[in-house]
């Protein structure tokens, strides 16, 4: 029988948190992010006001999602673009696949898009013989390793330069003889330039869909997103329906806040707006422009009064970076498209509460994620709500339900509770005395397997209370 997602998660988490090389790479990466992020926040006069503004913009958009999507669609179509509404990943992949086949596409260049990861677009295209090049440097690296992105903003942050140089020697050019990041980037640039200029189709995501202007907004630093949307003759945008925002002017705060939270920059190097195919008289640009709006479970979240705001997420990655769990177990351990706190909240909605409820417990509920979220999503409370939802949906094990029933009973009957405490102290003292801590006989096995046992008190809390603990 294959392992469940929860079992895989626990196994991978144990391995990753003990991997010292991984720990060092992540520590260095996060230290550098922390410094840049703090510096970036200092550039904004009132960070809390900025967060509140972004929250208000996204709330306005999501609470009138139908209206803003239709406004966006109308504008794009009026400029000769196409808008396709996909209820799920399969519909989105089929649309792009059919489009590529119909238009004789052999090569596709792709810029970073988490939605395409979510719907597994690249494998679907490769299955019909189309070559797909990931062109973001980090995405290119993980594509060469045949693994998913480790992080939603920095996909290859789990690798150091030596590991990447070795990979490039094996997969890109055997002559690679340096692990200098600039040298490795130059090698990738040379390789991907050929792809940019030979591809017939470019696929991008979108950070925002601007309703009043009818344009998509893409933030990139490398310029690959620019090339993907400038050179090939077809441009396809694959994005989630929740990315819409009401007004062009909203970007005056969203762009700086996204960049600050994502990388600590004041603004991303290329903040691009695209509203359609090349217009008559323009020098260049694609002849065809398609926007694929992906639902894939998002519209159901709207009906969740507590968690609708999860759709406000702008995918900056700040909650991943600050999360003490992410920092220890890393991105791949989650086994989901979206890792970290936002992924733990969102994935049960997209992939099912039964299979992914364990993610809600991969949190100490410390609230660091909520404190940094630039659109003020109350992430750690949503994790708590997911735990409750899983229990109410009957997704818990019968042994767990039985234990909690017993616990409830004991809490309502003080003498049973006292008896339980007394017998537990006796039993544990005996087991620890025999050196069996962490063994199969130890009721505290899960805790004691990886830790030294907590010293047992000589008497109960009640006894100590009677002796005057309360008076002190």
């Amino acid at each position: 029988m294959s392992a469940t997602a929860a079992q895989r998660f626990l196994q991978d988490a144990a391995v990753k948190s003990a991997d010292l090389v991984h720990r060092e790479i992540i520590q260095r990466g996060m230290d550098s992010y922390d410094a840049a992020h703090l510096k970036g926040r200092a550039r904004i006069k009132d960070w809390e006001a900025a967060r509140q503004k972004c929250q208000a913009i996204k709330r306005e958009a999501i609470n009138h999602l139908d209206r803003y999507l239709l406004q966006f669609e109308e504008k794009v179509i009026s400029r000769g673009g196409h808008v396709f509404w996909a209820a799920n990943g399969e519909e989105a992949c089929t649309y792009v696949k059919n489009l590529a086949t119909r238009l004789g596409v052999h090569t596709i260049v792709k810029s970073k898009s988490m939605v395409t990861e979510e719907i597994h677009l690249s494998p679907a295209l490769e299955k019909v013989g189309i070559k797909v090049w990931e062109t973001d440097f980090g995405e290119y690296i993980v594509q060469l390793r045949d693994e998913p992105p480790y992080h939603i903003v920095t996909p290859a942050m789990h690798l150091n330069r030596a590991q990447i140089a070795k990979l490039f020697r094996e997969k890109v050019d055997p002559e690679i003889d340096s692990d200098d990041p600039a040298y490795l980037m130059a090698a990738a640039r040379r390789k991907l330039r050929q792809a940019f200029f030979s591809a017939e189709m470019g696929i991008s995501g979108a950070n925002f869909l601007v309703a009043d202007a009818g344009v998509i907004a893409i933030s990139t630093n490398e310029g690959n997103g620019r090339l993907c949307t400038s050179i090939p003759r077809i441009h396809v945008v694959v994005t989630g329906i929740e990315k819409v925002i009401p007004r062009l002017e909203d970007l005056a705060v969203l762009w700086p806040v996204l960049a600050t939270s994502g990388t600590g920059q004041g603004i991303t190097t290329y903040s691009t707006l695209i509203g359609g195919p090349r217009r008559p008289g323009e020098v260049d640009g694609p002849e065809e422009f398609h926007v694929v709006l992906v639902d894939n479970g998002r519209s159901q979240l709207l009906a969740d009064a507590e968690q609708r705001e999860v759709l406000h997420c702008i995918r900056c990655g700040a909650c991943l970076n600050i999360c003490p769990v992410f920092r220890h177990i890393g991105g791949h351990t989650y086994g989901t498209t979206y890792p970290g706190p936002i992924g733990s909240v969102l994935t049960p909605h997209l992939g099912g509460i039964k299979e992914f409820k364990h993610l809600s417990y991969a949190s100490s509920l410390c609230g660091a994620c909520s404190s940094v979220c630039p659109v003020k999503i109350d992430l750690h409370h949503h994790l708590l709500q997911n735990r409750r939802n899983a229990t109410e949906a009957g997704a818990t094990k019968s042994s767990e339900r039985l234990m909690f029933r017993a616990w409830r009973h004991a809490m309502l009957h003080p003498w049973i509770y006292a008896l339980g405490g007394w017998s537990m102290r006796k039993t544990l003292r005996m087991i620890y005395g025999l050196g069996l801590a962490g063994s199969i006989l130890d009721p505290m096995r899960v805790w004691n397997l990886h830790r030294s046992p907590v010293p047992l008190p000589s008497e109960s809390f009640r006894a100590r209370w009677r002796k005057g603990l309360g008076a002190n």
Binding site: A87, R226, L227, E282, D284, D295, S299
Partner: protein, 217 residues
Amino acid sequence: MAQTENPSRDRILERIRTGLRTAVAVPAMRPESEIFAPISHPLERFQQECVANLMECALTADCAASAQQLSKVLEPLPGGGIFLQDDRSLRRLVELAAPERAIRWSTQGPPAEASQATVTLAEALIAQTGSILVTASCGGRGASVIAPCHIVYATVAQLVPDLATALSHMSQQRSLEHNSFACVISGSSRTADIEKILVQGAHGPRRLVVILQTSTY
């Protein structure tokens, strides 16, 4: 052009509308306050931000000085052609600079892949973020990203204090109705995907040079 068939469109819209019928409590908001500090000296701020963005900004007095600056930037570049937005002011600038290179104007087509530099105008300069705003009218989409060096010829009069002003001008002037593309560019192309170490010149230009003229003649 044929309309895209959309079998799921109405179903998705219906699901959205059904979902939105669920009432959601709106949390208390504190009064709005100023998010960004006001910019009192746009030119100074622009120059500071250019330094932070690793851009080059050369202040020139007039067209002749700008032409001299252009020659200075072009001279050390490796041999090869350059691409220019076909505009009267740039034709005049090139006449004065007289570079000994093959020139391709935007009216002759997009920049060649091997172009050593592209020279364009900008729609506006943004002081707050040290950015240039370009649209498809500034020589096309590839003009600001294909060559290793992008040179922007602008005047101080084009400077706006912040992003909010630049975006609201775009809305008022309906720029995005007349252009299929616009971009706020804040520095040269870069990546930090390996160990968060900054590398300049990823897929786009390694250098972004702004020749900023104080006069309009």
